[in-house]
Amino acid sequence: MHPALSVIFFTVTSGAGFGFLAMIGLGVPLPESGIGAFVACLIAGGLAVAGLISSTFHLGHPERAWRAFSQWRSSWLSREGVLAVFTLLVFALYAFGWVFYGVRSSALGILLFLGSVATVFATAMIYAQLKTVPSWNNTLTPVCYLLFALASGVLLAGSFGFWKEVGSISIALVALVAVGAAWVCKLLWWNSVANDTLAARGSSPDTATGLGFIGKVRLLEKPHSGENYLTKEMVHQVGRKHANKLRMISLFLGAIIPLALCLIVLVTSAPNHLLALAFVSLLAGLFVERWLFFAEAKHAVSLYY
């Protein structure tokens, strides 16, 4: 699949934003009110909104984007839109009370948490629902999206220095486990999709043309000598060449560095603010990971080309 920058930016950034919003909703210790609370709200809301705005750059008619709220009964993309806007509205109320009055409503907080998790889940389901792309059509796809969002949220929330521990477990350890769990899930996903190909699902040029009963089917001539929307959008091949190197880069930026930083905070007296650096590195790693998510995905239509 063609890795469109707007969509990569959307999934990574809004994932991080809603992950942070989920932490806020849980009521984890953060600046009590005023400017500190405002900064936290700005980062969480900013990331979520920036992601959503970026996703509209992918549209042919962004001015009609409001229409996407109508089909939530059947469409995951529509559900994602509805949930995102609902969650951001809840957050607007929550942030108002918090920044100006130092009140963090737990009722709104629960809604905020549930809305954020549901939004990230819906984002992942846009991809996971597609049978045409076997690697996306995997139960681990939404799990990865959720765990990466939560890991981003924990790192961001922890970096303010107010949230020091969960029970008696230090926040650096919690972050370490969160980041680690997300990448373990991703490794499992990589492992699972390596064998879950179109061929493994019984699709081949033979079934695509129905001609397999005669013999081996091979494309002789494309419909037109040039490219078309389908080949550009769904038969993208550039990314696969460097896939292994890019996986290493994403693991280094997204896993090794953030985990090392968490460890430093855990065992030394380094301030929790260092987790912000871990977050930035995770985000960079996730951009590469998400690029691969698209570039490596093979669509059924490639069987015709």
Binding site: G60, S78, I214, K222, P223
Partner: protein
């Protein structure tokens, strides 16, 4: 509403495409574009049409495959592909706006272009590559089954079939109601063993493909051919000799 229709008439309009007779002339491709660029919805645009790198939106494309049996020489199969108007159309249910829909009355899958936001998700959901984004209008284009011809009382009756069907010189495309077991197309499908493309995708396509008929086995070596000596007697012989001399 992008849920699939719950109330249907049982009518399933669609195409039956004969892979045995298609000669790969692309006439249906051209006539499809010709009709649909002036018909339903926005024109079907092309970019750089006369340049080095032309691209454009088409509702119907012909692929050409080579099929090699184990014990015989390869054969060429031309393969027309347009929307299959699937019963369980995944392109419809993913659409966030309601622009994509399947009609209950005849099963045709259409896009309401004024509602389409051009997100492209429906094209991702279709396993067959039957949907293309128009590069100028940025709305999703797909085969309409020539809905503006088949019910059009202003056209002479013989023209009330899809443009591709009307134009095919090999009669490789047939149009009709595949929901009616007694229709001509249904009988054709039964007779010739019409098949679904990628049935494993669970889309339940309405359009069917008729497989190529078995080839007569080719002779292993070409037979010796004898050239007949010209009969040089009589009037024709005289004419032949005279003309030779000229």
């Amino acid at each position: 509403m992008t849920s699939l229709p719950t109330e249907t008439t049982g009518k399933k309009l669609g195409l039956v495409i004969d892979l045995d007779t298609c000669v790969g002339c692309h006439a249906c491709v051209v006539n499809c574009k010709e009709w649909n660029t002036g018909g339903y919805g926005a024109p079907l645009s092309d970019l750089d049409a006369y340049g080095a790198d032309p691209v454009g939106s088409w509702l119907n494309r012909i692929h050409t495959f080579e099929v090699t049996p184990e014990d015989a020489p390869a054969q060429i199969v031309h393969f027309p592909k347009s929307c299959l108007h699937c019963d369980d159309a995944p392109c419809v249910t993913v659409c966030p706006t309601g622009a994509s829909y399947k009609r209950g009355e005849d099963g045709i899958v259409l896009v309401d272009e004024d509602m389409c936001i051009g997100c492209g998700l429906c094209a991702w959901a279709c396993p067959y590559g039957a949907r293309e984004m128009d590069p100028v209008e940025n709305v999703m284009k797909k085969c309409t089954l020539c809905v503006d011809r088949i019910y059009n009382d202003n056209l002479p009756e013989e023209d009330r079939v899809p443009a591709c069907v009307r134009t095919c010189p090999a009669e490789a495309r047939h149009f009709g109601d595949l929901g009616d077991p007694n229709s001509d197309v249904s009988k054709l499908v039964a007779e010739r063993g019409g098949m679904d493309l990628m049935p494993e995708q669970g889309t339940k396509p309405v359009n069917k493909y008729l497989p190529p008929r078995p080839k007569t086995a080719a002779a292993v070596e070409p037979k010796e051919t004898k050239t007949k000596k010209l009969d040089s007697k009589g009037f024709l012989g005289w004419l032949d000799k005279t003309l030779e001399k000229l």
